[in-house]
C-alpha cells in the first residue's frame, strides 16, 4: 500500500538485443541439427531412417507443444484477468507467435512420415483394413472411421491451423494495444482467448491421440490427452522461466522480480505434480485391471531396454521438482529455478522419448548423434525464432490494463 504513490521509471518500450554469442550459438545449433538429420535420413540403414523420423516427430511435437503452451499461457492470463503476469507477457507471446512456424514443421514431419511409411505404420500399412488381405488387422480396421490418412491430415491442419490463427491474432492485438492504448484490444483479446481455451481444451487431446497415441494403434487411453496437456504445460512454463531468467540476467525487465518468479515456480511445481497425477492415473488403472490389450503398452516399456528410463522419467519429472521446489524460498531463487526448469525440459524430452520410441523403432532404440543432434537443432531453432521475434517488439505491453498491478505484485 505504501507503494501506491511510488513512481517508477521503467522503460517498457525498450527492445531486447538478440545478438552476440546467444545468436551465434542458436545458429550453430540449427546447423548441427540439420547435419544430424541429413546424415540420419541419408543412411542406407532402414532402422536409422526410421529412428531419425521418430526423433523428428519427437522434437517437432515438443517444439509445437511449447509454442502452443505460450498461446495457452497468454489466453489463460487474459481469461482469468490475471495481473501479476502482465510485465512478462511478451515472453509467452513471442513463443506463441512462433506457433504457425512450429505447426508447419510438424505438419511436414507427420506428412512425410505418413507418405514414406516411417511413422504411423501401425495403422497405415497395406491391407490392414482389407478383410481379404493377409495383413488384415480387425482391431485397426474397427478404427478406420477415425484412423485414416485424409481424416488424420485434415485434423492436423484444422487443429494446428486454428491454434496458429488464434496465436497470430492475439499477438497482433497486443502490439496494436502498444500503439493505440485504450481497452479495445484488451476486450477483443479477452473474447478471443475465451474461445481459444474452449477450442483448445476439446481438440488438444484429439491432436495428441493423432500425433502420438496412434503410433501404437491397438492401444488407447482416454487419459492420454490430459497427460500430454500436462507435459506440454510444464514444458511451456519451464521455457518461460528459462527465457525470463536469462533475459533478466542480460539486464532487462527490472520490473519482474522474485515475486513473479515465485508465481511461475508455483505453477511449475503444481503442474509437475499434476503431470504425475495424470501419468499415474493412466498407469494404475492399467496395472490394476491387468487386461492384456491395455498392459501391452507398459509391457513394451518394461522391456529391459526401456525400463530404467521409464522409472528415471518419474524421478526427474516428479521427485526432482517435488523436493527442489517445495520450499517457498526455493521458488524465489533464480539459479535454482533455472536449474529445475532445464532439468524438467530434459525430463520431458525423456517423457516424449518413452511415449514415441517403443511405438516406432521399438527395440532398436538408441541414444546417439541423431537424438542429440535433432534435440540441439530444434533447441537452436526455437531460440533463434523466438528470441528474434521477442527482440522485434517492445519488451513489455505498456498499455496492458493490469500493468500497474504487475509492477506491485507481492506474495
Amino acid at each position: 500500500m505504501g507503494t501506491h504513490n511510488h513512481h517508477h521509471d521503467y522503460n517498457f518500450t525498450e527492445k531486447f538485443q538478440f545478438t552476440g554469442i546467444a545468436k551465434i550459438l542458436s545458429i550453430v545449433g540449427v546447423a548441427v541439427g540439420v547435419i544430424a538429420i541429413v546424415i540420419g535420413l541419408m543412411s542406407s540403414d532402414h532402422i536409422m531412417v526410421e529412428r531419425t523420423y521418430a526423433n523428428l516427430l519427437l522434437m517437432g511435437y515438443y517444439f509445437t507443444c511449447v509454442c502452443a503452451a505460450g498461446t495457452f499461457f497468454v489466453a489463460l492470463q487474459l481469461v482469468t484477468q490475471s495481473g501479476w503476469s502482465a510485465g512478462l507477457l511478451r515472453i509467452p507471446q513471442a513463443m506463441s507467435s512462433m506457433l504457425p512456424v512450429a505447426s508447419l514443421i510438424l505438419l511436414v514431419i507427420v506428412g512425410l512420415g505418413l507418405v514414406t511409411n516411417n511413422l504411423y505404420g501401425h495403422w497405415n500399412s497395406e491391407g490392414l483394413m482389407d478383410p481379404n488381405s493377409p495383413n488384415y488387422d480387425s482391431l485397426v480396421a474397427g478404427k478406420e472411421a477415425f484412423l485414416n490418412v485424409p481424416g488424420f491430415l485434415i485434423r492436423q491442419i484444422l487443429f494446428m491451423g486454428t491454434y496458429s490463427i488464434f496465436a497470430f491474432v492475439l499477438a497482433k492485438l497486443s502490439y496494436k494495444e502498444d500503439l493505440e492504448g485504450g481497452l479495445n484490444s484488451y476486450k477483443k483479446s479477452f473474447k478471443l482467448a475465451a474461445i481459444f481455451l474452449v477450442i483448445f481444451g476439446f481438440t488438444q487431446p484429439i491432436w495428441s491421440f493423432d500425433t502420438v497415441m496412434s503410433l501404437e494403434a491397438h492401444w488407447f487411453s482416454t487419459m492420454f490427452g490430459w497427460y500430454n496437456f500436462a507435459a506440454m504445460w510444464v514444458c511451456g512454463l519451464a521455457t518461460i522461466i528459462i527465457i525470463l531468467i536469462l533475459v533478466k540476467k542480460a539486464g532487462y525487465m527490472a520490473w519482474v522480480n522474485e515475486n513473479h518468479l515465485h508465481d511461475l515456480g508455483k505453477l511449475l511445481f503444481g503442474f509437475s505434480i499434476f503431470w504425475t497425477y495424470v501419468w499415474f492415473s493412466q498407469f494404475i488403472l492399467i496395472y490394476y485391471a491387468n487386461i492384456p490389450e491395455e498392459t501391452v503398452y507398459f509391457y513394451k516399456r518394461w522391456e529391459p531396454e526401456y525400463k530404467p528410463w521409464f522409472w528415471l522419467n518419474i524421478l526427474i519429472n516428479f521427485l526432482a521438482p517435488l523436493l527442489l521446489l517445495v520450499d517457498r524460498d526455493a521458488k524465489r531463487k533464480q539459479s535454482l529455478m533455472l536449474f529445475v526448469a532445464i532439468l524438467l525440459l530434459c525430463g520431458h524430452w525423456l517423457d516424449y522419448y518413452i511415449m514415441i520410441m517403443p511405438g516406432t523403432v521399438e527395440t532398436e532404440r538408441g541414444f546417439g548423434f541423431v537424438e542429440i543432434g535433432t534435440a540441439i537443432g530444434f533447441v537452436g531453432l526455437f531460440t533463434f525464432l523466438v528470441m528474434s521475434k521477442f527482440s522485434k517488439h517492445a519488451i513489455a505491453p505498456k498499455h496492458q490494463p493490469f500493468m500497474e498491478e504487475s509492477l506491485h505484485h507481492e506474495i
Binding site: M1, F280, F283, I284, Y288, N290, E410
Partner: protein
C-alpha cells in the same frame, strides 16, 4: 502508576497504519501487534514477523498419515488376509499409492486446521479473543504494550500524528463482548 496494559491506535486507513508503524519504530517504541480486517502487503516484513511454523506441523501430520495409510494397507492386504488379485503380488505397491496418498492429505489437512485452531485459541463454541472488535470490521488496530513503553504521551501523539482516529488505553488485554 496507571493500570493501562495496552495502548491501541485505531486507524481508518491501512496506509496510515503503515506510517504509524514507521513513526513508532523510528522512536524505538516496540509494537506488540497489528490487527487488520484484511491482509496488508508488506506488513509482516515491516513488523519483523517470523514465518509461520504451520508447514512443519503439516509435514508431521502428513508423514503420520503416510505411515498410518501404508500400515493399514500392509496389514489388511499383505499380512492379515492376502488375496490373489489378477495374479499380482499381495504387496502390489502401485495399488497402495491412492489410499496412502488420500490418508496423507486427510491427516495433513485436518492436523493443520487443528494446529491453527489450537495456536489461535479458536475452537467452536469458544469466544474468540480480540483486542478490539472493530479490527474484524473496518478499523486497523495497532497495539503497543504500555508497560514496556512508559512514555504514553509520546505514543499517543505519534499515533495521532500518523492519523489514528482514536487512541484507547485498555486495562485488560482482551475485550469481552459476550
Amino acid at each position: 502508576m496507571s493500570n493501562t496494559k495496552y495502548i491501541l491506535g485505531s486507524f481508518a486507513d491501512p496506509d496510515e497504519l503503515m506510517s504509524g508503524i514507521d513513526k513508532l519504530q523510528a522512536n524505538n517504541i516496540s509494537i506488540y501487534d497489528c490487527f487488520t480486517p484484511m491482509p496488508i502487503h508488506g506488513i509482516e516484513a515491516k513488523l519483523g514477523v517470523k514465518p509461520s511454523r504451520l508447514p512443519i506441523a503439516a509435514f508431521c501430520f502428513g508423514a503420520l498419515g503416510t505411515i498410518l495409510g501404508f500400515s493399514l494397507l500392509y496389514y489388511t492386504m499383505a499380512h492379515d488376509w492376502p488375496i490373489n488379485i489378477g495374479g499380482k503380488p499381495s504387496l502390489a505397491l502401485p495399488n497402495f499409492v491412492p489410499v496412502t496418498f488420500e490418508i496423507t492429505i486427510l491427516l495433513c489437512a485436518l492436523g493443520m486446521v487443528a494446529t491453527f485452531f489450537f495456536r489461535n485459541h479458536l475452537f467452536p463454541g469458544r469466544a474468540p479473543r480480540v483486542m478490539d472488535i472493530r479490527a474484524t470490521d473496518d478499523r486497523f488496530i495497532l497495539a503497543v504494550d504500555a508497560r514496556e513503553n512508559t512514555n504514553h504521551e509520546l505514543v499517543e501523539s505519534l499515533l495521532k500524528e500518523a492519523g489514528a482516529v482514536e487512541v484507547k488505553y485498555n486495562e485488560r488485554k482482551y475485550i469481552s463482548y459476550e
